[in-house]
């Protein structure tokens, strides 16, 4: 049987997109993946503070929102430098960008997979460390909510740093230098929200501003990541 012309397969890239997200989440939790290391870092780094500033509960309570947010932010940065580099080094990034998913699909899938596999667990874990840091009970819920609203911006802006340094050996430190200044607004509004909740002030305006920064990051982050990735693939 001879088919005279290859039927045009309608390549649904949506199916491919979610397959890519699932694969990356799976790889993040697989042996050698970023998630377990990042959570380990988060636990250890936060528990260093009582050694540093002393165990007095009021001191810890006072600095708890700031410490939890800063360490979550740092954990996010260190897990990001392999976002594209792993696939760049073994060649699968070439296949992904040539596939119907395309550059935009790859960036969105990777950022989403990173957020699900790394920053989400941080947000869920934060309250337990809040207990250790003697965080005031009123702050727990807002801590999770602020992390959930703020961390997308961390993944998105971090993705830009990762894409810019994908071809740079040992680009991790450089990536932090590039990305951390851009994290300042998210950090300020995130900690502001938790502080407000702890002081029984309405945290809503802070959360709104935090959400605004994340929305902004969606636009700037994805555009810049696609541009940077195209550049690196040349």
């Amino acid at each position: 049987m001879v088919m005279t012309h290859l039927p045009k397969i309608n390549v649904s890239s949506a199916g491919a997109f979610w397959a890519l997200v699932r694969r990356d989440v799976h790889l993040a939790w697989a042996q050698g993946g970023a998630s377990t290391l990042t959570i380990g870092f988060f636990l250890i780094a936060v528990s260093l503070f009582p050694f540093g500033v002393g165990p007095e509960p009021q001191v810890l309570a006072r600095i708890a929102p700031g410490v939890l947010w800063v360490i979550a932010l740092l954990a996010c940065v260190i897990s990001l430098d392999r976002l594209y580099q792993a696939d760049f080094e073994d060649g699968s990034l070439d296949d992904l960008v040539l596939s119907p998913v395309g550059f935009l699909g790859v960036v969105c899938a990777k950022v989403l997979a990173h957020w699900l596999s790394t920053t989400l667990p941080l947000a869920v874990l934060a309250p337990f460390l809040g207990v250790m840091m003697n965080l005031n009970a009123d702050g727990f819920v807002v801590l999770i909510v602020s992390l959930l609203i703020g961390t997308p911006a961390l993944s998105l802006i971090g993705s830009v740093g990762a894409a810019l340094t994908v071809a740079v050996r040992r680009g991790g430190v450089l990536m932090s230098l590039i990305v951390l200044p851009l994290y300042v607004p998210t950090l300020i509004f995130g900690v502001g929200a938790v502080d407000a909740a702890v002081n029984l002030v309405d945290p809503l305006p802070h959360l709104a501003l935090l959400g605004a920064v994340s929305l902004m990051a969606i636009v700037a982050g994805i555009w810049a990541s696609v541009m940077a990735l195209k550049l690196a693939m040349e």
Binding site: M1, V2, T4, H5, D90, G91, D94, D95, L96
Partner: protein, 228 residues
Amino acid sequence: MNKAVLRYSDDTQIMAEALTCRRGGRTVFANMSFTLSAGSYLCLRGRNGAGKSTLLRLIAGLVPQSDGKFVVQAGGQALDIKSSLLMVGHLNGLKPALTLRDNAAMFQKVMTGQNLDQAVLQAAAKRFALAHLLDQPVQYFSSGQRHRSALMRFELVSRQIWLMDEPTVGLDSDNRQALAVMMQSHLERGGIIISATHDPIDVEGIELNLDDFAPKQIGQNSLESEWL
């Protein structure tokens, strides 16, 4: 199960006219022209650094051309190159933590959005003597096995244009034979193959030596770069 004999459209054509590519302030190759129609095989020759890989990536649309015309067309109108080509490079694009079966299934899903037909995978694996390794994580594979796993993609996803960068690296003689057979049958079905390789594959095709398109030697003054 006699595999349906797919035949690619015969009026697909890859046409390059006075193609020039400059990268990092240096001209890699200049005013190169060639035309490839369905069923033909182009073998790129030339010393290292002559731009073989660059040309392959240019054809794939990853590298922008600096000058000249480069068109992939079918029956007069331009074809979206990305949806009709498959490329294999030096790196094999396999995730070490996943098994060969998962890697292949992932590749199929990303490239076509459909799930992998296990029979097709079995046939492809048998062709490159990898059938017994399908459920092993790729991290335990030798470099030759990894390279053969990468070559399997041409059996899994049917695309008209194949771009191969050093396909024979790490292949022993009977795998090299399997590669030649696969390429030959692809050509007979109207496929187009462009490969950059040093040691020849016994598939007859047109040769293109990139050294002929290198920027004129330093002696003459045409070292065109915008910086000099």
